[in-house]
C-alpha cells in the first residue's frame, strides 16, 4: 500500500485497502473557519428541526476553529459570524479556537502546521477545499462541504472512496530562484484543473526530499487546483523535527510500502524548471515568467496559505531588500507566529522600507474578501492559488499566480519579472 492507502486502512480498521474501496474512516482532526463554521451551523439548525440532536459533538478535543476569511471583521455580517463561532466553541468547550486579537491566529491551513495540529498518519478533514495543504505533513487531509463536516462533528467518522494515486517525482534540487510554487504551477499547467480529479497527488523524489517542509506545503496546497482528493508527502526527519519544534509529541516518520502502487507516475527534472506563472483566468493557464516580461502590473500581493509562510516572506524580502516598489504591494503574513518571526528577523522592516504595506494575517484579498481587493481592470501578481474571474475582487480585474520571488521582483519593477532577470 502507498501512504494514503495505509492511513485509510488504519483509520477504517482494515488490514488493507485498494483504490475504489469504499471505507468508513475515523477522523482524527476536524476544522471549521468563519465561512464553513456558520455554514455547518445552518446544517445543524436544519437537523435540529428534523428532531436530530445536535447538542453534543462527538469529540470536541478533535475540533479546532480558525478565524481567517473575513477577519479582522470586514463589516457587520462577518462580525456576527465571528460571534456565532465564539458561541459555538464556548457551548462545546472547544479549546483550540484561534481568535484574532488574542495571540496566535491565522489562516486555517497555516495554523495546521504552525501549531502542529495534525500529525503524520492522521485523517484530517476541514470545511475548506485547501485542507489538502496539510497532507505535506504525511497526513490524509481533504476538504469537505458543510453537510459532511456537520456529520463528522457529530459522529467522528466519514466515508471515503479510496483514491487512486498519481505520483509526482522530482529529480534533483530546484535551481536558484525556482520555488515549489513554480513546480506545482508547472504540474497544473501540464495536467489541467481536473487532472487530479478524485485522485491522490503524492510528491516525492530527491527534489522533494531536499525541500523544506514549508516548500512541500506549497505543493500539496495547490493539489486542490488540480481537483485532487488529497495531496500527500511521506513524512521524514524534517517533518518530525518541524512538528516537534512546534510542540508535537506524536510526530512519526511514515512511508508507503516498498511495493506501493501508483496508477500513474510523472517525472520532472528540477534543473529544467523555471519561474512559472498562471495567467488569468485559470491556474492551468501557465507559462514561464520570462514570456510575460512586458506585462504591466498595478499590484503585487504576497499573502495566503499558499504564499505567505515564513520562507515565502523570506524569499520575497531577499529580493525587495534595499529596493523600492513601483506598484502597490501588500504583504500579509499567514499567521501571527510567522508575523513575529518576520519582525524579529527584520523582514517586516525590509518590506516597509521598500514601501509595501504589511497587513494582519487573513485570507483577505485571496478570496476577494477584503484587505486589498482589486478594482476594475486592475492587474495583480499574487502568491495565492486561484485566479478565476472576480476571485480577488472586480470581475474585470486580472490575477497572475506566481511564486513569492516573482511577486517580489515584479513589485520592484512594476512588470511581471523573472527574479533571475533582476539586477
Amino acid at each position: 500500500m502507498n501512504i494514503t492507502e495505509k492511513i485509510l486502512a488504519r483509520a477504517s480498521e482494515k488490514s488493507s485497502v485498494s483504490p475504489d474501496d469504499v471505507i468508513f474512516a475515523k477522523v482524527d482532526k476536524v476544522m471549521v473557519h468563519d465561512v464553513s463554521g456558520p455554514g455547518v451551523l445552518k446544517v445543524f439548525d436544519k437537523l435540529q428541526k428534523q428532531g436530530i440532536d445536535t447538542s453534543k459533538l462527538h469529540d470536541p478535543t478533535k475540533v479546532w476553529i480558525a478565524e481567517d476569511h473575513f477577519v479582522p471583521t470586514a463589516e457587520k455580517i462577518s462580525a456576527e459570524n465571528i460571534v456565532k463561532l465564539s458561541n459555538f466553541s464556548k457551548k462545546h468547550d472547544i479549546k483550540k479556537h484561534f481568535k484574532y486579537g488574542m495571540g496566535q491566529y491565522g489562516i486555517c491551513h497555516t495554523l495546521s502546521h504552525e501549531e502542529a495540529l495534525v500529525n503524520p498518519g492522521e485523517v484530517y478533514v476541514g470545511g475548506d477545499s485547501h485542507t489538502n495543504t496539510t497532507g505535506a505533513l504525511g497526513a490524509f487531509a481533504c476538504g469537505l462541504g458543510h453537510t459532511d463536516v456537520a456529520y463528522v462533528l457529530l459522529n467522528g467518522e466519514i466515508w471515503f472512496k479510496v483514491p487512486e494515486t498519481y505520483y509526482f517525482k522530482l529529480n534533483g534540487k530546484l535551481p536558484p530562484h525556482v520555488m515549489a510554487k513554480d513546480f506545482i504551477l508547472k504540474i497544473i499547467g501540464d495536467i489541467g484543473t481536473d487532472g487530479g480529479a478524485y485522485n491522490t497527488m503524492q510528491f516525492g523524489g530527491t527534489g522533494v526530499d531536499e525541500m523544506s517542509v514549508e516548500s512541500r506545503l506549497t505543493l500539496t496546497n495547490m493539489t486542490t487546483e488540480a481537483g485532487a482528493k488529497n495531496g500527500i508527502i511521506e513524512s521524514d526527519e524534517k517533518t518530525v523535527n518541524y512538528l516537534n519544534e512546534r510542540g508535537a509529541t506524536n510526530a512519526t516518520i511514515l512511508h508507503g510500502d516498498e511495493n506501493a502502487e501508483y496508477s500513474k507516475i510523472f517525472e520532472y527534472e528540477a534543473s529544467e524548471l523555471e519561474p512559472t506563472v498562471a495567467k488569468p483566468f485559470s491556474p492551468e493557464n501557465t507559462t514561464v515568467a520570462r514570456e510575460l516580461s512586458s506585462t504591466e502590473l498595478d499590484k503585487s500581493y504576497i499573502g495566503s496559505c499558499t504564499g505567505a509562510k515564513f520562507e515565502d516572506l523570506l524569499a520575497a524580502a531577499k529580493i525587495m531588500k534595499g529596493k523600492t516598489v513601483k506598484i502597490r504591494t501588500e504583504v500579509l503574513p499567514a499567521s501571527i507566529s510567522i508575523y513575529k518571526k518576520a519582525v524579529k528577523q527584520g523582514l517586516i522592516e525590509i518590506f516597509l522600507d521598500a514601501g509595501a504595506t504589511v497587513g494582519p494575517p487573513t485570507c483577505g484579498a485571496c478570496c476577494g474578501a477584503h484587505m486589498g481587493v482589486l478594482g476594475k481592470d486592475e492587474i495583480c501578481v499574487s502568491t495565492t492559488n486561484r485566479n478565476f474571474p472576480g476571485r480577488m475582487g472586480h470581475v474585470e480585474s486580472q490575477t497572475y499566480l506566481a511564486s513569492p520571488q516573482v511577486a517580489a521582483a515584479s513589485a520592484v519593477t512594476g512588470k511581471l519579472t523573472d527574479p533571475r532577470d533582476l539586477n
Binding site: D53, K84, D128, S129, T147, Y151, N155, T193
Partner: protein
Amino acid sequence: MKPFSKINSIITPLDKANVDTDQIIPKQFLKLITKSGFGKFLFYDWRFNHDGQEKDDFILNDSHYKTSQILVTNENFGCGSSREHAVWALKDFGFDVIISPSFADIFYSNCFKNGVLPIILDIENIKKLLQFKDEIELDLESQTIIFGDESINFKIDSHRKTRLLEGLDDIDLTLKEDTKIENFEKNSSRISIFE
C-alpha cells in the same frame, strides 16, 4: 426534502468548462446568515451588470428558461472552493439536475446532500443535449433521459439514488446496508443524524 420524482423540463444549456464555485456564488454572499435565498445571487457576475441590472445576453435571464429544472454544462463543473453555498444557490434558483461530462469532487458530493442530482454523461451526449430545445424527460428510478426519439441511460451510485428517491438529504444512508452503520444507528448512546 421532497422525494425526487420524474422531471419533465427544458434544458438550460451552459456550454462552459471549469465553471468554478466563485462564479456560481461569489464571495460576498458567503457570509450571509440566512439559510435560504441564495438563488438570487446565483452566477451573480454573469447575470447582473455593475448597476444591478440583469444582463440581456446571459441565458439565465432569458424568460424562456425560467421554469427549467435542468442545467447542462461542460467539464469539471463546480471546481474551486468547497463552499456548499454553490449547491444551495443552484437548488434555490430551481435547478434539480445538473448534467456534465465531469464534476469537481466536493461539489459532486455536496449535490446529494441537498437534493440535487448530478449526472455524468459522455461528451457526445452532452453536445446533443446542449442543442436540444424541447422538453426532456428524466427518470431517476430507471436512470434514463428521453429527448426526442433518443433515450440514454446514466449511472448513479445506488445508495445515493435511493436517498434522492426517498427524499432523505442527510448523510449517510449511503452505506445503509453496512452492518457497522446499522449498529451505529442502534447504539443510542451515540448521536446519529441517520434517519
